[in-house]
């Protein structure tokens, strides 16, 4: 039960740091002015066009596809697989489980492997492509190591050393309703949860800020209409 309490406290703290940290950054991004019109052209001339441009960037990584097919392949595979994996994990946070979550359960399991394959490809590039090796710092390796370790420990719980998944879910639901339950003390469970806690904590202070940052970049989210609509903000509004 001590273990359960420790992990519970860590999870609450990590959630707080993640939410506060990311919300804080989003507020900072939103409040920082964009004084000039700097969309990279050709750019859409309407707001709807910008939504479509951003949708393509966020869902199919359009620009990355244009830039480098290998990076796109591994990067996109990782992100899509991660989305499935996260969605699948919703089942541990709800009772009853939504039909859609139950439906993608099989895909979500294979997605774990796809996620690792994508990460492996991305990591390999950091060693094999001289230019990418040059720009890689220690934190870039550690980030990949963390994500790979999360993936491996997760798959280990499923395929290597089964845990009492019902008990685990009871613990998670207990966290959500502030009614603490015992945590199965299998090594891979503790490892998996511990690594996820680390990921949550470093999210708002690392390059993972690309997730909120992406939506705020004036080069992509501005409408190309400087002659038609007078834009002012920050020092250009003074």
């Amino acid at each position: 039960m001590t273990l359960s309490v420790v992990y519970a406290i860590l999870f609450y703290a990590a959630t707080l740091l993640l939410v506060v940290g990311v919300v804080r950054k989003i507020i900072i991004y939103a409040r920082t002015p964009a004084p000039l019109k700097i969309p990279v052209t050709p750019a859409p001339t309407t707001k709807a066009g910008v939504v479509w441009r951003m949708t393509k960037e966020v869902t199919v990584f359009q620009s990355l596809f244009k830039a480098n097919k290998w990076t796109w392949l591994f990067g996109w595979m990782f992100h899509v697989a991660l989305a499935f994996v996260l969605f699948r994990h919703l089942r541990y946070f709800q009772e009853p489980v939504w039909a859609i979550v139950a439906l993608i359960q099989p895909i979500g399991q294979y997605a774990g492997f796809a996620m690792l394959a994508g990460l492996t490809g991305l990591w390999a590039r950091r060693f094999l492509v001289d230019r990418v090796r040059y720009i890689t710092s220690l934190s870039d390796h550690l980030m990949l190591a963390l994500l790979v370790a999360i993936g491996l420990s997760g798959l280990a719980i499923k395929y290597l050393a089964h845990t009492d998944i019902v008990a685990l879910k009871t613990w998670v639901l207990g966290l959500m309703y502030f009614d603490l339950q015992p945590l199965p003390s299998d090594i891979f469970v503790l490892l998996h949860l511990g690594l996820v806690i680390i990921l949550m904590v470093i999210f708002p202070i690392s390059k993972l800020l690309h997730v909120p940052g992406l939506f705020f970049m004036p080069t992509r989210n501005q409408v190309d209409n400087p002659r038609e609509v007078r834009h002012t903000a920050g020092w250009t509004a003074k």
Partner: protein, 500 residues
């Protein structure tokens, strides 16, 4: 500083530019002449490197980040995916890894991280953060003057991170602590005191244009006018001052005059605002950007014109199209039936659409033409009313004026265009090595159309591109006069006297 160097070799029969293996610090020796105290002071910067410049530089960085959503998100979000690493013409031409866009950004990001992020404050080694010191400043001065702010990297970045913004910020910081670049700052000083980059005074300008009128009348037998300071003209034309004297720029100016002449639209140049260029953008200085733009607005109001049209100049068109309305707008004193400002290419295109110009394509039959998309036009502005009009309209002018047109390889044109190598404040002799090496990808693409289609003219719509190619073409064994102004091609096709 401009010691001997080898011009990169062009490859035979390849369609895509080879990505070289990097050679560390191969361009570390490249650095422009620093500005003299008087050049810096004229623009409101300290004359020399100030005391505590390290602290002041860091403070200025903080101010810039607080004032620019772009800079802030760019510095936070890069994941080092490497998508940009093979996209910069300077990297491809020099092999110096610090010319990879992400590495160039990291020169500044490392300082941002050290002073403004949790990770960099407490774990600097882990995230590549470093203290601001003289070696950093020297590195900035070298490599932020190896960036032409052409935005090609941002096209390929999954988030749209634009190295141009980062290099502008770095130059702003260096100016703020008194370490400016001679070329940009000296020219901006001339512009603000005399009215143009050349320092060409009013009287000399008027003489030049009178000579031009005589020359054109001798050539064509038609009295085409090149008016200055004509109050009540319909159009104020603002051109880069290189158009008044340099080759092939001046042939473009001749062409503008022929277009106005045949269209029968009254126009004028201004001796007060005799410069479209605004190098303030290159040094990231908002104050100067606005001041220089204001001159043009003032001239337009003073002359009482109905429209403002901008000549063939890439960064000037970016400033005019994207920034003028913000900085010195609204232009409510102009005729609302026309966009303000308008590009000369838009103007000529409309006239052609209306059948207002008689063009004889055969007049250009000796030319086999390709078109170089200038970076600031391609990736930082627009022409016409649809996205990508900046690619369509200039080509439409060429094909309306000439029979032989061939585009270069698709990965080197439109928004993928390679910079000429001389943009962004690098068009100075003390940076000749980086300029020539940076021109390599464009020269490579040109070689292909020369080999395949016997192309003998490369048309451009940017004063910097034209001046840069006059140097780069001979370095790569092409004839210097291949570089041609768009309105020279149009002007040569106009059948003067047929609409009078």
């Amino acid at each position: 500083m401009t010691a001997k160097f080898d011009t990169p070799e062009l490859f035979k029969n390849i369609e895509i530019i080879d990505t070289p293996k990097y050679e560390v610090d191969s361009m570390a020796h490249s650095s422009p002449y620093p500005a003299k105290a008087q050049h810096n002071e004229k623009l409101g910067f300290p004359g020399e490197l100030v005391d505590n410049w390290e602290e002041k530089a860091v403070t200025r960085l903080g101010e810039l980040v607080d004032g620019s959503r772009a800079l802030r998100t760019f510095l936070d979000s890069c994941v080092k995916c490497g998508a940009c690493t093979d996209k910069c013409h300077y990297y491809l031409g020099t092999k110096d890894p610090k010319n990879m866009p992400v590495a160039r950004q990291d020169l500044l990001r490392s300082i941002y991280r050290r002073y403004y992020t949790f990770a960099g404050k407490y774990f600097p080694r882990l995230v590549g953060a470093r203290d601001m010191d003289k070696s950093v400043l020297d590195e900035w001065y070298s490599y932020f003057h190896q960036c032409s702010q052409c935005r090609r990297c941002s096209v390929f970045c999954p988030y749209g991170i634009d190295t141009a913004e980062i290099s502008m910020a770095a130059r702003d910081i260096m100016d703020t602590v008194g370490h400016g670049q001679k070329y940009c700052n000296e020219i901006l000083g001339k512009l603000q005191t005399i009215g143009n980059n050349l320092g060409l005074p009013e009287k000399a300008l008027i003489n030049t244009l009178e000579d031009l009128e005589e020359e054109v009348e001798e050539d064509t037998g038609v009295a085409v006018k090149y008016p200055v300071d004509v109050k009540g003209a319909d159009v104020l034309l603002v051109v880069p001052s290189a158009d008044f004297f340099a080759e092939p720029h001046i042939d473009g100016l001749i062409g503008y005059g022929k277009v106005f002449h045949q269209a029968g639209i009254s126009w004028t140049l201004s001796s007060y605002a005799s410069e479209a260029a605004n190098f303030s953008m290159f040094i990231g200085s908002g104050d100067n950007l606005k001041k220089v733009a204001q001159r043009i607005r003032d001239a337009a109001e003073e002359l009482g014109v109905k429209r403002i049209i901008v000549g063939e100049c890439g960064h000037a068109w970016r400033v005019a199209y994207s920034f003028w309305n913000t900085l010195v707008g609204p232009f409510d004193f102009l005729d609302p039936n026309y966009p303000a400002p308008q590009h000369i290419v838009e103007f000529t295109y409309d006239l052609i659409q209306r059948g207002a110009l008689n063009l004889d394509k055969e007049a250009n039959d000796h030319r086999r033409i390709t078109f170089h998309d200038s970076c600031n036009v391609a990736r930082a502005s627009r022409m016409g009313n649809i996205p990508g009009g900046q690619f369509i309209l200039p080509r439409a002018l060429i094909t309306a004026s000439a029979n032989h047109f061939f585009d270069m390889s698709p990965e080197t044109i439109h928004e993928n265009t390679f910079c000429c190598g001389g943009g962004g404040g690098l068009l100075t002799d003390d940076l000749m090595e980086i300029r020539i090496k940076g021109a390599m990808p464009r020269m490579q693409a040109l070689k292909q159309v020369v080999d395949e289609h016997d192309v003998n003219a490369m048309v451009a719509i940017c004063a910097i591109c034209k001046a840069q190619f006059s140097k780069a073409l001979p370095a790569y064994q092409f004839p210097m006069d291949m570089i041609t102004s768009l309105h020279q091609v149009v002007g040569d096709a106009i059948q003067l006297g047929t609409k009078d």
